[in-house]
Symmetry: none
Amino acid sequence: MSEQHIPTKVPSTALEPDASADMRQALLDAGKTEFANYGYDGARLERIAAKAGCAKRMLYYYFGNKKDVYLAVIEQSYRDIRASEEQLNLDALEPLQALHSLAKKSFDYHEHNQEFTRLVLQENFQGGEMIGQVSTTELLRNAALEPLERILQRGVAQGVFKAGVTAVDVHYLISALSSFRVDHAATWHSLLQVDLLGAALRERHQQLLLEQIKALVCVPSVK
Amino acid sequence: MSEQHIPTKVPSTALEPDASADMRQALLDAGKTEFANYGYDGARLERIAAKAGCAKRMLYYYFGNKKDVYLAVIEQSYRDIRASEEQLNLDALEPLQALHSLAKKSFDYHEHNQEFTRLVLQENFQGGEMIGQVSTTELLRNAALEPLERILQRGVAQGVFKAGVTAVDVHYLISALSSFRVDHAATWHSLLQVDLLGAALRERHQQLLLEQIKALVCVPSVK
Amino acid sequence: MSEQHIPTKVPSTALEPDASADMRQALLDAGKTEFANYGYDGARLERIAAKAGCAKRMLYYYFGNKKDVYLAVIEQSYRDIRASEEQLNLDALEPLQALHSLAKKSFDYHEHNQEFTRLVLQENFQGGEMIGQVSTTELLRNAALEPLERILQRGVAQGVFKAGVTAVDVHYLISALSSFRVDHAATWHSLLQVDLLGAALRERHQQLLLEQIKALVCVPSVK
Amino acid sequence: MSEQHIPTKVPSTALEPDASADMRQALLDAGKTEFANYGYDGARLERIAAKAGCAKRMLYYYFGNKKDVYLAVIEQSYRDIRASEEQLNLDALEPLQALHSLAKKSFDYHEHNQEFTRLVLQENFQGGEMIGQVSTTELLRNAALEPLERILQRGVAQGVFKAGVTAVDVHYLISALSSFRVDHAATWHSLLQVDLLGAALRERHQQLLLEQIKALVCVPSVK
DNA sequence: CATGAATGAGTTTTCATTCAT
DNA sequence: TATGAATGAAAACTCATTCAT
C-alpha cells in the first residue's frame, strides 16, 4: 500500500551477505520470540525492534504493519520446519526407518525450536485465523502429509505395514509426541515436578515415540 | 497497584439467588474465555464486559483491576477442576480396562476443559508468576500419577503388563494424545484442512489412544 | 466497535443543558473549523480537542475515529442549512417571493457560515467520496430540491413562471451566486483587489441574485 | 529549513530532450494534482512520486523539500495559465456577442483548469502565505476586468446595455456560474445525484449563463 | 449497585527527511 | 543520475483506569 513492503529483494550477489536481508531476518527472529512469548496482541513492536537492534520504524519498512510482521514470522517458521524435513532422503530408507527418521527429526525440531511450538500454540489459542492468511499456505498444506503417504504406501506394498493407517494418523502421533513435551514442559514441571525436557526423559520418550509408531503401522508379526 | 480489592459487599446472606453474584460469575466466565484465548496481555476488559453483558466499569467494581480479574479467573478455574474430580472406581477394573477408563476420562477432560488448559499454558509462556499466587495450586500434584502407579503394579503382578513402564510414561502418552488434538485443532484446520475435533477423527483418535496404551504397557502375547 | 461511539444519548431532562451533549457539540464545532481550514488529511485531532478544551481522547470516545468525526461534522452542517430553510413557510408566499426568500436565506447562510462552504469545497476537492457515507444522507438528498419543485409548480400553475425551468436550474443559480462570493473572496481580494464580502458588494450581489432568479423563472411580461 | 534548493545540474544544454527535465516535469504535474486535491498538509510526497513513476527520493533531489515542491508547482501553474491567454479579438464583436464569447471562454477555462483553481483556493484557506512568495503573482490583476469594461462602455454607448452595470458585476456572474459547477461537482453528485459535469447539464448551464448575462446587461427591450 | 464521562500513558502507524552508495 | 535503506518526530488510535453521580 505504500513505500515498499517487499524491499526489492535484489537477489544479491551472494558474495556479501547483504545487510538488508540481514536486518529483515533479524526482525523476523526477534518477532518470532516476541510473538511466541506474548501472543499477537501482547507482542510489542518496540521490543521486537529493540531486540533486532534497529528503529521500530523498520518493521513498517519491511513488513507494512504488525499483522504482516506476524504473518511473515509464521510463514518462515513453517517453511523452516518443512525445509528441515526435506533433507532426509526418505525414499532411500526402509519404510519403518523412514518413519523413524522423520519422527526423530520432528522430535528434535520441536525441542530445538521451542519458539515455533509456542507460536503455533498461540495461534491456536486465537483460533488460527491469521495463519490462513499466509500467502504461501498452500505450498505448505501437504508438505507434511505427502511424504508420509508415500512411505505408508511403500510399507503396505512391501507387506510390512498394516493397511488402513492414514498419513493423518501418523502425523498426529508424531506431532503429538514431539510437541506435547515442549508445549507442556513448564506445566509438568510446576504441577508434577517432572522434567520432560531433561536428558533422561528425553531419551525415554524419543524411544517411546519410535515404538509407538511401530505399534501403529507395522503388522503384528514384525519384530 | 492491586492489593487485594474487596468489593463492598461480599457473599450476601445467600437467601435469595443474589443478582450480584450472578454478575460476578458472568464476568468470571467471560474472563476465563478471554484470558484463555488471548493471554493476559492480549485480553481486553472491554470484551469481557461485553461478553458478560454489563459495563466495563463493573470489572473494577468486583475485582479492582485487570490483574485481579485474572487471578480470580485462575483461582475459580482450579476450584472448578477439583470439584469435577469424580471417582472412577479404578480398582474394580482389570488393569488394561482401568487404563482405558482413565484414558477416556482424560480424552474427554481435555476436550471439555480447553480453557483451563489454555490458561495454564498461557501462564507458563509468561513465566508462570501469577499462578504461584493462587493458593489452590498444589492439588493436582500427585492426583494424576498415583492411580496410574497402582494400576501398573497390579498389571505387572498379574503378568499382563510389561515391567519397567512407569506411571510418567503412561501419563505422558495419555496426556499427549488427549491434549494435542485440542491444543492444535485450529492450525490443523487452517493448514491441513483436517478437523481434529470432528466426530470421525474423534472416534479414530480415541481408538488410537487406547491401542497405543495397550502397545505400551501390555506384554506382547496379550491380545 | 468499542466503548461507545454513540454515548447513550439519554434524552436528558432538557432542564439542565446536559454537559455531555455540550462537549460533543464543542468537538463538532471545533472539528468543523479544523476540517474547513485544513481538509480531511491536514486536519489534526489534537487541534480539534484543544479548541474544544478537552483531551484528544474524547474524540474517540464520542466518534470512534477521525473519519467518523469528519462525517459527523459534515452531517450536522448539512442538517443545519436545511433546518434553516424549514422555517421559511414558503407555501404562504407568492411563488417569486418564495424563491427570493429562499435565495436570501441561502445567501445569508453562506455568508454567516463560511466554514460550511469551506468544508463543502474541501470535500469536493477530494472527490466527495466521504460525504456519500453519511448515514442520513438520504434524508438530505431531496431536502434541497423538493421545496423548489413545489414553488416552481405553483408558479407555472399561476402563469407567472415559465414552464421548463427545473428545480436543479434554480438551485444551481442560487447556490452558485451564494457560494461563489464566499468561496473565492480571498482570491478576488488578492488578485483583483475586490472585496466580495464588503457591505457595498454584498448589497449589490444580493440584489443581483434576486434579479437573476426573476429573469430565470418569470415569464417576460412579469414586472 | 528550505533555502532555495538548487539541483546539481539545472537547465542542461538543451540539445537532447533531456530525460532529467522530463522527470522533473512529471513530478510537477503529479504535484499539481496532489496539492490541488489535498492541500499542502494533506498532500503526500509518496503519492506524487508514485504518480510520476519514480522514487520519492527524487523529489528531494529536484526540489529540496515539500514546501519547495509546492512552490514550484504554484509557480509553474501560473506560468502555464499566462501562456494560455489567447486573444479573443473582442473588439471586433457586437457587445453582447463579445460578452458571450468571454463567458464561454471562462466556462471552458474553469472546466479545463480545475487544478489551478483548487490550488488557489487551497492557498486561500490556509492564509495564502505561500502564494505571496511566488514572483509571478501579479499577472492576473486586471487582465480580467479591463476587457469587460471596454465592452460594457461600447454597449452602453450603443444603447444596447443598461447603464450602471459594472465590470465586477459581470465578471462576478460569469465567474460564479463557470466556477461553481466545477468546484461543487463532487458533492452535487454524492448528495443530489446530479452530474454537473455531464454533457446534458453542461449544455444547459452554459446556455443559462449566456441568458443570465443578457438579462443582467441588456436593456429590457432588446431581444 | 451500577454507570456514563473523562483521561494519561502507551502502541501502532504515518510522513517528511537524511544517509550511503 | 538515481535509488534503496534507515530514521525521528508526530499523528492516529487503544487500553486500563479513575471521577462523579
